[in-house]
Symmetry: C2
Subunit: 330 residues, 2 copies
């Protein structure tokens, strides 16, 4: 095994979020299913953007958010993902690098623009997402830096990366490179609809190539097509070394060999489930290499992840102080 | 006089804000004067951006903010300003047009990029601004659409536009076109340091070409180089038909011919003085053409402007509802 250079290497769709507030009628006028993420092409993205109210832009992407939070928590983090050689690509790269994330991927020149996710926030706080994949669709095997993967304790893969056409082969190559180097592979299922679009490929990856699985209740029951969360959790126990399964109101269930640990959430703290999911994975992975999961660590980091939920997908607060406070209180 | 098509036509530096939170030591390490706006060139902007923490991007510019708020309050609004043909320029244009502001200015192709203001927010809520003018420096006489000016009740000029080299002649041309069409000219002094950089030109414009003047205490005393606010207010009374002079804690003083009206502020409501200044002008101008300033209107809109202060430079809330509430409560 080569020497550790990074605690976490994230691979995901590199994108910028465009967030605007709308009322419920905006969603129905545009035939949107509240809370879901759908893929849109460039023409549809432009049409929707024209119809959207004024927004704010900030760096996003599920694994990108996880890497940003993990770096803020003090982990050594690297990230691979494809932006274009444009202003939004510069914003994405700046926001990761300025908090110390190593982001070596060369931007795509002369192709599609940097991916963006048009996020419509309704008065109930739910986020309905419309993603134009842009430059992300070119992410492929050639972008998988095997030396970088070998230097990271855990390679963390974002489920949304199943959508770009060339990324599935890149995923398998990244997982093989990590295992060849004696490293671990983590996967977040990202979205129940994404799991539904690529269920067979997800099942194959999870059973053969993943050590640590992150999923919420909807995603894990969609993956295994079970009626209950408990059945899905047992299926995950057979497939992976460790599964961290979140049920927003009920907290999370950690399945690890014969062990099952249930961590209660404090519902009052959760305001943004999307950002909290990414932050939960960050808190979990930044805590050290699995399988060193103890009650204090998981409970403290779970609480930290809930607190993080206050600050959106990319928190602005001093997370190390928040974690210290959460651990002291837990 | 041609028929009214717009209530307000704003002219200003068209820019995107990049906002990040820093601690006090960041400002001292970079030799910044807290609360001030300074101009930086492209190299300095890039160096500072590299050093800045992750940020969020949103449309800005003082007159742009005023126009956005006025449109949200129900006024018919147009805007002239120079963006580049790039992604940040698209963001700026989208954010104005999507709330109904007419923005006909053609983007600059092949020159400097869209202007940006790197804003560092310290824990006390103060904003320290570093502006790279980019495409704004090309705004000149050719960009002054005289037919558009003739169709607007008030042409509103942003003081910051004194900084780009060609804009002062554009300002005078816009003022002349407005008066030729029997319209009014409003000016916001924007910033005491900006007034200091261009005092003679400001004095000349204010005394000869401005009907309605917006300024805060620091700006108006800098303009007239007086020791007291009262002396400056008397100088403004001689120069313009109407001056709306704000003193953040003490409220605002409206000087109008022989009349002086003092409107008390409710300090607890003010959280962001930068955005509140732009919003105050919007509330004032959106209330109808001067000199129809009555106690109810000025008091109600002043209160609305304070409430608006909660929501940053470009509010996300339903402003018409807030104004109705403020008027009912006032």
């Amino acid at each position: 095994m080569t020497q550790d250079r990074f605690d976490i290497l994230g691979i995901g769709n590199a994108m910028v979020d465009v967030v605007a507030r709308v009322d419920e009628s905006f969603l129905s006028r545009h035939d949107m299913h509240k809370g879901a993420m759908i893929l849109v092409d460039e023409a549809a993205a432009e049409k929707l953007y024209t119809a959207m109210p004024p927004g704010t832009e900030s760096s996003g992407g599920s694994a990108g958010n996880t890497c940003a939070v993990a770096a803020m928590l003090g982990a050594r983090v690297a990230y691979l993902g494809k932006v274009a050689d444009d202003q939004l690509g510069e914003v994405f790269a700046h926001d990761l690098r300025s908090i110390g994330v190593h982001f070596p991927s060369a931007p795509l020149a002369g192709g599609a623009p940097t991916a963006r996710c048009l996020i419509l926030v309704t008065p109930d706080g739910q986020r309905t997402m419309n993603t134009f994949l842009g430059a992300c669709v070119t992410f492929g095997e050639a972008d998988v830096d095997e030396d970088l993967i070998a230097s990271a304790k855990v390679t963390y893969l974002e489920g949304y990366l199943f959508d770009p056409p060339a990324a599935q082969t890149a995923f398998r190559r990244a997982a093989a490179a990590a295992h060849k180097a004696g490293r671990q592979v983590a996967l977040s299922l990202s979205d129940a609809f994404c799991v539904g679009r690529h269920r067979d490929a997800f099942r194959d990856l999870v059973s053969g190539h993943v050590d640590i699985l992150f999923a919420n209740e909807a995603e894990i029951t969609s993956l295994y097509e079970t009626n209950t969360f408990e059945e899905a959790a047992e299926a995950a126990r057979r497939d992976v070394k460790l599964a961290a399964l979140t049920c927003s109101e009920a907290g999370s269930t950690i399945v690890h060999g014969p062990h099952t640990e249930i961590v209660r959430a404090e519902p009052a703290h959760v305001v943004d489930t999307t950002g909290a999911g990414d932050a939960y994975a960050a808190g979990f992975l930044a805590g050290g290499p699995p399988p060193a999961v103890g009650p204090l660590r998981s409970h403290g980091l779970d609480r930290a992840a809930e607190v993080i939920g206050h600050y959106g997908a990319r928190p602005e607060a001093d997370l190390r102080a928040l974690v210290a406070k959460a651990l002291a209180g837990g």
